[in-house]
């Protein structure tokens, strides 16, 4: 069972954190192990996922899209989870955990704003104080989500340091946690950070894959051939992949943000173009320069705009369990449009990368293949941005 006792997935992961955080991380690991086994916790979380977040989400057979592309494509409809993305699976779990640990204050970082909204939602529901760190640039491109968080009673703190995006919001949230861990739990939004975060977030997101497995077996009487998901930090993809890990016949494909193009400096394709290194507490692939300074990334989608990636993905890459590709902004926008037109589903720009990749690579597949794409979020948050890019606003 991975991660091992040191929080490693093979050589990746670990706990590269300041000494001040080691105690709190040990406490979190201990408490998570204890509380997540408790019946009271599991029943409450299952209740909330079902009655509040609307799970299970459908596994929808995208008939028109399948016809167009030439093989069967199912969409795991995380866009229909409450708050519009898969993020709620993790935040309900972590905020409930924090509450049972006796914490009274929650902090979080957010890029696209989806994790911030999902955290603020869980905090409103479970009556916890909530502070969300958000890079100034992201704040500007996701104004509506900032207002949503405010409505939910959260305080959104603009982060002005570094590249003013997701990575800097994580830095700032970690600094807050270093100072306030006695009362505060830090809800990381992806499968990144020091151990035990990649494990905890994966476990809470695994509900995606567990449901998918049941649903596809019911519909097709067999396991799928491919699972495809976008990868920023990598939480929706790990959530989908992990429960299928031991079924070697099910192939995993992760799609990263190629930005303007992989031959430029403006992308966020960490597994495709990065090198091994340490960022935000874990050893994984990182986009960095020759001196180990972290690079500033670019993607049309704020949720994928991150120079690191979850250590478990690096492990999957290393052992060949998953393949990772990147598509550029333009291809993602094509995915965004085609799903809107053919299925009446406006996807978020993040999973639009997975759809776009599928369009571009349809020749890799046979017509009897069954492909499942994780539609990790809905596109409402991106409509204004896309309209701007396309000169329609």
């Amino acid at each position: 069972m991975l991660p091992d006792r040191k929080g490693k997935f093979g050589i990746f992961g670990g706990r590269f954190a300041p000494e001040t955080l080691i105690g709190p991380l040990e406490e979190l690991e201990r408490e998570y192990k204890k509380i997540s086994k408790k019946r009271e916790f599991r029943e409450k979380l299952n209740y909330l996922l079902k009655e509040y977040a609307g799970r299970p989400t459908p596994l929808y057979f995208a008939e028109s899209f399948s016809k167009q592309i030439g093989f069967k494509v199912y969409l795991k409809r995380e866009d229909l989870a409450f708050t519009g993305a898969h993020k709620i699976n993790n935040t309900l779990g972590q905020v409930l955990l924090a509450k049972m640990m006796g914490k009274t204050r929650i902090i979080a970082e957010t890029g696209a704003g989806q994790h911030g909204v999902a955290t603020a939602t869980a905090c409103a529901l479970l009556n916890m104080e909530c502070v969300v760190y958000m890079g100034e640039i992201d704040l500007e491109r996701q104004k509506l989500n900032v207002y949503r968080m405010n409505l939910l009673g959260a305080k959104v703190v603009p982060v002005k340091s570094g590249s003013k995006t997701l990575k800097d919001a994580i830095n700032e949230a970690m600094r807050d946690w270093i100072a306030n861990f006695k009362t505060t739990h830090y809800v990381i939004g992806s499968v990144v950070g020091p151990h035990p975060y990649p494990m905890i977030v994966r476990n809470f997101q695994s509900v995606i894959g567990k449901e998918t497995k049941k649903q596809i077996l019911k519909k097709e009487k067999k396991l799928p051939d491919y699972l495809i998901a976008c990868v920023g930090g990598g939480s929706n993809s790990i959530g989908l992949f992990y429960p299928f890990f031991k079924y070697k016949e099910v192939k995993f494909i992760g799609v990263e943000a190629g930005g303007i193009g992989l031959n430029t400096d403006k992308h966020a394709a960490t597994l495709s173009k990065g090198e091994k290194g340490i960022l935000h507490g874990s050893f994984s692939y990182v986009l960095q320069d020759r001196y180990g300074q972290i690079k500033v990334t670019h993607s049309v989608s704020a949720g994928l705009d991150y120079p690191g990636v979850g250590p478990e993905h690096s492990f999957y890459k290393e052992i060949g369990r998953a393949e990772y590709f990147a598509v550029d902004d333009k291809t993602a926008l094509e995915g965004f449009h085609i799903l809107s037109e053919l299925e009446g589903i406006i996807p978020a720009l993040e999973p639009s990368h997975a759809i776009g990749w599928l369009l571009k690579n349809k020749r890799r597949f046979k017509k009897e293949d069954i492909v499942i794409v994780c539609l990790s979020g809905r596109g409402d948050k991106d409509v204004v941005e896309v309209a701007k890019i396309e000169g329609k606003l």
């Binding site: 670990g14 706990r15 590269f16 000494e19 001040t20 340091s161 990575k167 001196y291």
Partner: protein, 261 residues
């Protein structure tokens, strides 16, 4: 024995406590940082800690974030930091430490980094995001080159873990007195003092205290319990405010206070 260990021995004989100052390499500029460090060494600093700036310094507060970002903008990099220390080492012969995050060291190549430290006369390395569990390989590589790897302890380190870290500690133990990132603070807690006493009971290795020191009263309060103090953000703020003269006077004043009778 490393230069750092020699220095502590010498100070102990003189019944003095160490004044360790942190400066960000390349801030405000490459040349000015050399001048500032030289002057502070001449005013009585015992050991100089030089920060190799990192783009994502999670353990640092706003002041060191600012100086690091500026220095990177000005074109500082790891090779330039080695140059900087070589220049300093030729002019002012006191022990020098490097402080940086693990990624720049890892990317440079741990052995190559250690070799360069040895050649340019660095006698210690501080890596705030390298935990005890991951430190053994690099500790060994550094030890072979007579360089200390400095370990941290905090009031929140468990007793069991504290024992393990003390066993591996070398050069000195860096005690972080408060929860939080670097930056000036008002006072030191009784809790922190109690833990320092406990550490001192268990080891001969010098214990220095950092995070939040900014005035003589704090030094007076703490000096009998520790072997030295580290000041970073407080003096960097003086540099940001162009108050170099004031900084120099304070260095003299603080060092006087540390010559405890």
């Amino acid at each position: 024995m490393t230069d750092i260990e020699k220095k502590f021995k010498e100070l102990k004989e003189k019944k003095e406590k160490a004044l360790i100052l942190y400066f960000t390499a390349g801030f405000p500029s490459f040349k000015e940082s050399i001048e500032i460090i030289k002057k502070s060494a001449e005013k009585g600093t015992d050991i100089i800690e030089i920060g190799i700036p990192f783009s994502d310094p999670i353990a640092d507060g706003p002041i060191i974030q600012y100086t690091s970002a500026k220095a990177l903008e000005n074109g500082i990099n790891t090779d330039r930091c080695f140059q900087l220390i070589q220049i300093l080492k030729n002019e002012v012969k006191i022990p020098y430490l490097f402080m940086t995050y693990f990624n720049p060291v890892y990317k440079y190549g741990i052995e190559k980094f250690a070799d360069k430290c040895f050649k340019s006369g660095v006698s210690g390395l501080i890596i705030p995001d390298l935990p005890y569990e991951e430190s053994f390989e690099i500790r060994k590589i550094l030890k072979e080159r007579n360089i200390n790897l400095i370990y941290f302890l905090t009031p929140f380190t468990s007793e069991n873990r504290m024992k393990k870290i003390i066993k591996k500690a070398n050069g000195f133990i860096y005690f972080i007195s408060v929860a939080g990132v670097t930056g000036p603070r008002e006072s030191l807690s009784q809790e922190a003092i109690d833990i320092i006493k406990k550490i001192k009971n268990e080891t001969e290795i010098p214990v220095v205290i950092g995070f939040g020191i900014s005035n003589k009263e704090q030094i007076k309060q703490i000096k009998e319990y520790v072997d030295g103090i580290i000041i970073g953000s407080f003096f960097l703020q003086k540099i940001i405010d162009c108050k170099i003269k004031e900084m120099e006077e304070l260095i003299i004043e603080f060092k006087e206070e540390l010559k405890c009778k």
